[in-house]
């Protein structure tokens, strides 16, 4: 082994504490990236696999009632590869153990075999028996949420008639990865069930023999969805067709996509920011670590070593540290990725969880780190070898030629030599100091980027459930009824007052852009649902015209005052252009509001409602829930607590899984970074400090000089870090593309305070450990 290599390993061993802190930095960045990206890629591939193996449709359509032979006409179209006709209806399920009615959807399946499209993945039990028309399969999410046993009975109201089925199996399906009632932005596994029953049984219950009302189509290779949809619409139009739509607006798919998109932010972008910061810090740390060997570099040069072997030597040292860090990161990330899978499992209903460690992920992350390391070494070594060896062998002059402005300014105020030492260390090489301060300040956002999610979710809850939707329970009726129903509900015990709503499925159209959603008709002056703008100021409902979600308006390329075409997908299906009178900043879903009377007129119907918002007196709520279960017209009702639970179990839960990891690694990186900055400061001053001890200064006094430097840096870095945190969080949230929910860019004093306190704690811990090193100097 060459002497330089021997030096390499000895130096490495000597610097082990510092090297370990650097490895921690790199390792954390790599581990977080490997773990999150593996899981993200797994989610994407599981989704694709599930869709493919269960043959998820590409185009969907609902009709009122169409004869089965119509399917042949559609199947004959060039763009259609396969078609599946079904009967699907919303139903209500009664459970004695439930305080609320459970909403559901019954979907017909062939009694003897899997359907061609939108197949089921049987997770337990068996397929239904053709000879027993009362057998059904339910969705796994519900079965798990309600601890359903095979063989259990389920009481379903079909078309107002009560019917009892036996559950023989549980299944997952690509169309119900997230199952929720149409128009409800959040899935609620406990209070929503999917029931698959034999075609004959469902047809009999809904008087649909020889007919279907639900269509699933798979596109032929090379087919055009855009061309096919109008053709299908034309064919199904006479049968009450509600307009075919592609996968992009299929409710479950859209939610899955949005959740995965959200994971893209927390699993790819945020870890990449972390990795970028870690690499930057690695660069700074190595620059200073190598810079501290200035005299040795100069000696090697004086002894006749050319620049390249010297570069190589330090590059090997830096690469050794970096590669060890990457290795630690790869192992840790691979292992934590496996742990994370189990944490994700409750949120994503995919059948095949198949975690694979992808070696290219740590390699990719490692490349970034190694590049940062190489740059750092290059800078540090070049700085030394550029100077004549005779000069480089002497200690660096602490003050720039003539003194920097800052140094001259400060030295008028500070006169004690001890304070000057700290000051010169900083002001003498302002660029390096700024870089270190900047690096130190990045430790704040790296913690804040993990912590702020709690704030953002809290703000989402606060804005959505505290300011916009203020009802204690949302009631959905199975069809539109006269507004008399409001009075009827208000007469129930516990109801303070109720507000009627008319919710209709629509297709918004602006030029070539369309979006399928719904319009909510609200009572004028509604107190239980208050559309608001970004500053949370209420927006008055126009007598005519529509209030549109700002995000939806952006998606449709529209602004206030412009007309929006609304095609109603119900009843007589009128279509009309309505002016946008205002934009609302909503949190969940993409909404559109109209005055209920105006909507009733648009629908050419009398004053009617199909949903109610209730203000409930908490003391009587249990009694009220019991009474509501007896109303057959109520398809579902969702008390506030259920909405919270649904929110926590889906959006919040999923985000917090990754946020917890982000926060944990953020703290690790911050600690590694702070420790390094402090260690290097010590290393650079070790001789001076030892000298001061000999001159009779106490250990405390010597430490104080060192800490003064650290304190000055922290005093600049921490406030800067808070500004950077805000900026990075807003940047991160702006990268999100998500229809299902909006995340407000809220950075509270809690987030900033926590982050600063953690960094401060790391600084104090590092200072304490260095204090011990200082104590050891003179020994």
């Amino acid at each position: 082994m060459s002497m330089l290599d021997r030096k390499l390993f000895r130096d490495f061993w000597k610097l082990r504490a510092q090297a370990f802190a650097i490895m921690l930095l790199v390792g954390s960045g790599v581990a977080l990236f490997v773990m999150s990206a593996s899981n993200y890629l797994m989610l994407v591939s599981m989704q694709a696999l599930h869709y493919e193996s269960e043959r998820f449709g590409d185009v969907f359509a609902q009709v009122k009632r169409a004869p089965l032979p119509l399917a042949n006409q559609i199947a004959a179209l060039d763009d259609v590869a396969a078609i599946e006709t079904r009967i699907a209806q919303n139903v209500r399920v009664n459970r004695d153990d439930s305080r609320f009615p459970v909403a559901g959807r019954i979907v017909s399946i062939p009694a003897n075999d899997q359907p061609q499209l939108n197949r089921l993945r049987l997770m337990s039990g068996r397929w239904i028996d053709p000879a027993r028309p009362n057998e059904v399969i339910v969705n796994t999410s519900y079965a798990e949420a309600r601890a359903v046993q095979l063989g259990e009975r389920i009481e379903v109201f079909l078309n107002g008639r009560r019917q009892v089925f036996t559950i023989v199996g549980t299944a997952m399906a690509p169309e119900f990865v997230f199952a929720s009632r149409s128009g409800v932005p959040l899935p609620d596994n406990k209070n929503y069930v999917v029931i698959w029953a034999g075609t004959d049984a469902v047809a009999a219950a809904f008087d649909m023999k020889g007919a279907f009302n639900d269509l699933v189509i798979r596109l032929a290779p090379g087919a055009s969805e855009a061309r096919l949809i109008p053709e299908i619409d034309r064919i199904i139009e006479p049968y009450g067709g509600l307009g075919a739509y592609g996968r992009d607006i299929h409710p479950s798919h859209r939610f899955v996509e949005d959740e995965i998109a959200e994971q893209r932010v927390t699993s790819i972008i945020a870890p990449l920011i972390f990795l970028g910061i870690a690499s930057f810090l690695l660069n700074i740390a190595l620059t200073r670590l190598v810079g501290a060997q200035r005299e040795q570099i100069a000696t090697l040069k004086a002894l006749g070593y050319p620049d390249m072997p010297i570069f190589w030597h330090y590059l090997k040292l830096a690469t050794l540290i970096t590669v060890c860090g990457i290795f630690i990161g790869a192992i840790l990330g691979g292992w934590l990725g496996r742990v994370m899978v189990d944490l994700y499992r409750p949120f994503f209903r995919f059948p095949d969880w198949n975690y694979t460690f992808r070696p290219w992920l740590p390699l990719l992350a490692g490349m970034l780190a190694v590049m940062a390391a190489i740059l750092g070494v290059f800078n540090a070594v070049r700085h030394v070898v550029m100077q004549p060896a005779a000069i480089a062998m002497k200690p660096e002059i602490p003050v720039a030629q003539g003194g920097t402005l800052l140094e001259r300014l400060m030295s008028r105020i500070v006169t004690s030599p001890r304070q000057l030492m700290a000051l010169r260390a900083l002001a003498g090489r302002p660029f390096r100091s700024l870089l270190t301060v900047f690096g130190l300040s990045l430790s704040v956002p790296i913690v804040a980027l993990g912590v702020f999610w709690w704030d953002a979710l809290g703000a989402m809850i606060d804005i959505n459930f505290g300011r916009i939707n203020r009802s204690h329970a949302d009631v959905v009726l199975n069809h539109a009824v006269s507004t008399r129903a409001i009075r009827e509900i208000e007469s129930l015990p516990g109801v303070r007052f109720a507000e009627g709503q008319r919710i209709v499925p629509v297709r918004f159209r602006a030029g070539h852009r369309t979006y399928r959603g719904s319009v909510q008709g609200l009572e004028p002056g509604s107190e239980l649902l208050v559309p608001r703008d970004a500053d949370l100021a209420p927006i008055a409902l126009p007598a005519e015209g529509v209030l549109l979600s700002r995000r939806l308006a952006a998606r449709l390329g529209l602004s206030v005052g412009e007309p929006l075409r609304i095609e109603i997908l119900e009843g007589a299906r009128p279509s009309r252009e309505i002016a946008i009178t205002g934009l609302v900043d909503d949190i969940l879903g993409l909404t559109a509001y109209m005055e209920i009377g105006a909507l009733n007129r648009l629908l050419r119907e009398g004053a009617s409602v199909n949903a109610l918002l209730l203000s409930v007196d908490g003391r009587d709520s249990e009694l009220l829930w019991r009474r509501l279960k007896d109303f057959p017209a109520i398809e579902a009702f969702t008390p506030r607590e259920t909405m919270f639970a649904a929110f926590n179990e889906t959006i919040a839960g999923m985000i917090l899984v990754s946020a917890a990891f982000l926060a944990g690694f953020g703290v690790l990186i911050a600690v590694g970074l702070v420790y390094n900055a402090a260690r290097i400061a010590l290393q650079e001053h070790a001789w001076e400090l030892a000298g001061l001890r000999i001159l009779g200064l106490t250990r405390a006094e010597v430490s104080r000089i060192l800490f003064a430097e650290l304190a000055i840096m922290a005093a600049v870095a921490l406030p800067l870090g808070m500004v950077l945190s805000r900026w990075l969080i807003v940047f991160l949230l702006n990268l999100r593309q998500n229809d299902s929910f909006q995340m407000p860019a809220v950075v509270t004093p809690f987030t900033l305070g926590t982050s600063v306190l953690i960094v401060l704690g790391a600084i104090i811990m590092s200072a304490a450990s260095i204090r011990r090193q200082v104590d050891a100097i003179d020994r």
Partner: protein
């Protein structure tokens, strides 16, 4: 320019030739004139002592001759190597092939042992002696596997001498080799340097502000204010052991 010169029994060609060497650090009022118009000629195998007070320009002259620094103006060459105006790579090659350095503060690599510090230079030399032999020459064979931090100042400086001579350099440049050492230790180090000069015929330049050392030299150059103010040839050279200060 090259020619045979005879000095006090030493016959050899002039290896170093410097004309009008000037070195200025800084500019304007802050300018420091380290060397002013220095002319110099040094013979092969010669033992030169550069004497002068601090700041007289000794180190600057040595650094320029050793290829560690470049003059502001003037001309310096070693045999067929032009030292002024040479590139970094050329100077590195020159140091590597011809020059051995002994620095005032030893500049040993702290993470390498005695043997390894010497080996470090032997590795990049074309025809080095064995590191152990070099260490033997400075009388430190019993310390081969010690780290610099385990050695006394004098021992460290002797390692530095061993490190400088292991590659059998043509020139040995020593910057205040005894500056940080006590009397006895200083003499041991000087003896080692003298031995190298005598036995290997290495052209040697030793910087010192201690005039007692000048007795060892063939020639003593006195410097003041960046100039060589006096040149003196010793009729009888003293052995390092005979030096008294």
């Amino acid at each position: 320019m090259r020619g045979k010169t005879v000095h006090d029994g030493l016959t050899g060609e002039a290896v170093f030739l410097a004309r009008g060497l000037t070195k200025t650090y800084g500019t304007g009022d802050a300018a420091v004139h380290a060397l002013r118009d220095v002319d110099l000629e040094i013979l092969a195998g010669e033992f030169i002592v550069l004497l002068g007070p601090s700041g007289s320009g000794k180190s600057t002259l040595l650094n320029i001759l050793g290829g560690l620094d470049a003059p502001t103006s003037g001309d310096a060459r070693y045999r067929d190597h032009q030292l002024t105006g040479a590139s970094e790579a050329e100077l590195t090659l020159y140091r590597r092939e011809h020059v051995g350095f002994v620095f005032q503060f030893y500049n040993l690599i702290p993470s390498l042992t005695v043997r390894e510090n010497v080996q470090l230079v032997a590795e990049i030399a074309p025809k080095p002696m064995k590191p152990e032999e070099a260490v033997e020459l400075v009388g430190l064979s019993h310390r081969l596997d010690h780290f610099p931090a385990q050695l006394s100042g004098g021992e460290q400086q002797r390692v530095a001498v061993a490190r400088a001579i292991v590659k059998l350099p043509d020139i040995l440049l020593c910057d205040e080799p005894t500056g940080a050492l006590d009397y006895d230790t200083g003499r041991v180090v000087l003896a080692a340097i003298q031995k190298v000069n005598a036995e290997l015929g290495t052209t040697t330049i030793v910087i010192t502000h201690n005039s007692a050392i000048s007795g060892m030299a063939h020639r003593v150059l006195r410097m003041r204010d960046g100039r060589i103010v006096e040149t003196e040839a010793n009729s009888r050279r003293l052995d390092a052991k005979e030096l008294v200060w």
